[in-house]
Subunit: 441 residues, 2 copies
């Protein structure tokens, strides 16, 4: 039985999957987009939700709503747990099978604790809206606990935050926590002085934002320090317990801190093992799938792997970074390839065009490496704002996010400072052990 | 030991407690405001969060932020679980004791299942932001399940919603669900037609909005029916199982519905039993505390109980309703009484001034009973909008809520349609039992 339309199954509605789907809008294909969540998430702004500046709905848009006018796509809320290479079907967690002629896998990345998964409860990472809400709870809860603490040592531990990993997420998160403490919460408490908060940023490499040019790393570190962040480079977490982080490297201290966040590593999402088992996909040490020149799986030209799930090293030798630009460009490329195949045209090979890297540090500082120019300070911050707003899905989100930012900017306010959830986060953070330890800093 | 300042402890930062605190702004007192949550919640708009129109942060504002400029108040995040009448102290869950000279209790109300607490998991109520988020999850999840259902009976059960209780919450909630289904989601799905959704509103009395004048109840019912809500008056839930609601009264049907919400009753929050045990407070059958003419506890002129926690029947014989107006006016009155006592002045007795009742039904219909006039339709909707915006705490919230409403109004969009939470709500809703049952309607 020959079907009239090619069936394209796209797994994952992030930057990669959504770009592929949208680029197939006018193609004579029948698309099924499968995602575990009912929304597209603008991940680069998660740290703003984690620090109370934005609400979840400001950085997420329902997939059905984004695609409601694209008639060749059907959205399925489901979790792909397996696939059958013989029948060309993906299999959902509830057993449903969805057949494909072409498969695009774009399920992204998850946290990577480098073999120390037991650290996760003490130092959660930031990949989902739930992660962001959990961070927000922990941050705000820490100040509440500090306010009520009788013992000065205990109070200090609640006022000490450690962010592990000095990439863009770690830089933005530590900057935002420092700003929250030193400005937004300044007058909110009666017993503690939130400006006494200490935020540590640990980075194993010799500078923060390692993939950026050295002068931008230096600018970023300076901006962070101006906000009150203590940046420890060439330092890593060697051990972790409730209430303390043992550092190794340039700083061999034990930090007494109740609130620790993980921004140090990413690895491919769990779908990679299915690909390895069913399609013999080769994986790198971060579990990413090594793909061909055209982003397809070796030996499976009908299966494409894009975005953070893929390891694409054909351009420079090093794998392309796990950023939104790579995901979007790979999604668009794969869509073009599918269109060309339908028209029996050849497709020229993929070339990643790096439009620039950016990180924002607090109220009006950012670093941007735009290739044509390198920006720092306020100008970079404006550029960052502009670019992020450009990509925010949906007209209304842009307007509302812009208003909230304008408000946050002028008032130094952060409106979404709600501790939600039935149980206090304390339950997941055991009380600090009272023991002798080295004095820090 | 005589203290310089009178110590006022206020428990609960809702409409009542916050009004009392603010009205004591210039009084020479030392106030401690204790709340379990770190925010003030604008409860009348919870149904908008439950139906994806607004985000939690749009209707909640951090208490510390609201009160940061009021220097005579300290905010404590804590749960009052007991009190000691001899030492005049309230006792928090963690054992901390906070002494008071005057105590104002304003912990509000919770759901009341009239002895059928086992219904709560199947038919959750709407009092907290978590409740609203859970409702939102269930509503959106139901449409997703309907889209994937193979069996037409199962699909219909996912597309059937039952709201129990025809007071303002039930009326607003059922109207909003109907509008979501019939307008917002209209084009979002490919297999189901969301306009086939059925929303039932059950009310035990002979008309919806029983405390309103009959002509407004009739208007409300007409507006609901125009939105596609099936209103069953003189009908109550007699039994409930996962997937079905057995009705009794005028309609003795069994409704096959996967999603059921409870808006039928409220009772005083759990603090009432502490008051009964420690201060011999008399309670009514909804556990509300029977208070004196000046809102104090009989025999305890230093303890005031205000808002939904109190039963105040001195004005009309019937207890004042559990609405924001009563809470705010009682809070302000008690604050005035405290100020007058400090100045050794007498206070004239309390008089509740009913400024009017309102309920909104969908996009541009509402009913308002403003005493000077009775409004229906679009005019009432505008009045409702205006009054709610007036009371929303914080300048920015008003602006953002106004923009979102304007947007929702013109686009029929509801932006915050996110299914959040790690686990699907399905886990709390067992699959419907497949069994023979009477055909409904």
């Amino acid at each position: 039985m020959k079907r009239a339309l090619t069936r394209i199954v796209v797994v994952g509605g992030g930057f990669g999957g959504l770009s592929a789907v949208r680029a197939l809008k006018h193609a004579p294909v029948q698309i099924t987009l499968i995602d575990k969540r009912n929304f597209h998430l603008f991940q680069p702004l998660l740290y703003q939700v984690a620090t109370g500046g934005l609400s979840p709905a400001d950085i997420a848009a329902p997939l059905r709503s984004i695609l409601k006018k694209q008639n060749n796509v059907e959205v399925v809320l489901g979790d792909v747990t397996d696939l059958d290479p013989d029948t060309h079907e993906v299999i959902l967690g509830d057993g449903e099978r969805i057949p494909y002629d072409t498969l695009i896998l774009a399920t992204g990345a998850t946290h990577h604790y480098f073999g120390q998964d037991q650290w996760e409860p003490f130092a959660p990472g930031l990949k989902t809206l739930e992660d962001a809400q959990e961070m927000r709870r922990r941050i705000l809860w820490a100040f509440e606990q500090a306010e009520r603490a009788e013992d000065p040592q205990e109070r200090d531990a609640w006022l000490t935050f450690v962010v592990i990993g000095g990439g863009p997420t770690g830089v933005e998160l530590s900057g935002a926590i420092a700003e929250l403490a030193h400005h937004t919460l300044k007058r909110d408490f009666r017993r503690i002085d939130p400006t006494q908060t200490t935020v540590y940023l640990l980075e194993n490499a010799e500078r923060v934002l390692p993939p950026y040019p050295p002068d931008l790393s230096a600018k970023a570190q300076k901006s962070l320090e101006k906000l009150g962040v203590i940046v420890w480079t060439q330092t890593r977490a060697a051990n972790m317990e409730p209430g303390s982080v043992e550092c190794a490297g340039a700083h061999e201290d034990t930090l007494r801190a109740q609130t620790v966040f993980w921004a140090a590593g990413a690895r491919a999402s769990s779908l990679c093992s299915v690909l390895q088992e069913r399609l013999h996909a080769p994986l790198d040490r971060n579990q990413r799938v090594m793909v061909e020149l055209d982003w397809s799986l070796p030996g499976h030209p009908e299966v494409f792997v894009i975005g953070d799930l893929a390891h694409y090293a054909h351009q420079t030798g090093a794998p392309l970074p796990g950023v939104a630009q790579v995901a979007m460009q790979s999604g668009k490329y794969v869509a073009r390839r599918i269109r060309d195949q339908l028209n029996q045209k050849s497709t020229k090979s993929f070339r990643y065009l790096n439009l620039g890297d950016m990180a924002v540090i607090g109220r009006n500082a950012a670093v941007a490496n735009l290739h044509v120019m390198r920006l720092g300070g306020f100008l970079a911050w404006l550029a960052w704002l502009f670019i992020h707003l450009m990509y925010l899905v949906g007209y209304e989100s842009k307007l509302i996010v812009l208003i909230q930012w304008a408000w946050n900017y002028f008032s130094r306010n952060r409106r979404a400072r709600l501790i939600l959830g039935e149980k206090p986060p304390l339950e997941t953070i055991p009380a600090p052990e009272v023991e002798k330890q080295r004095q820090n800093v």
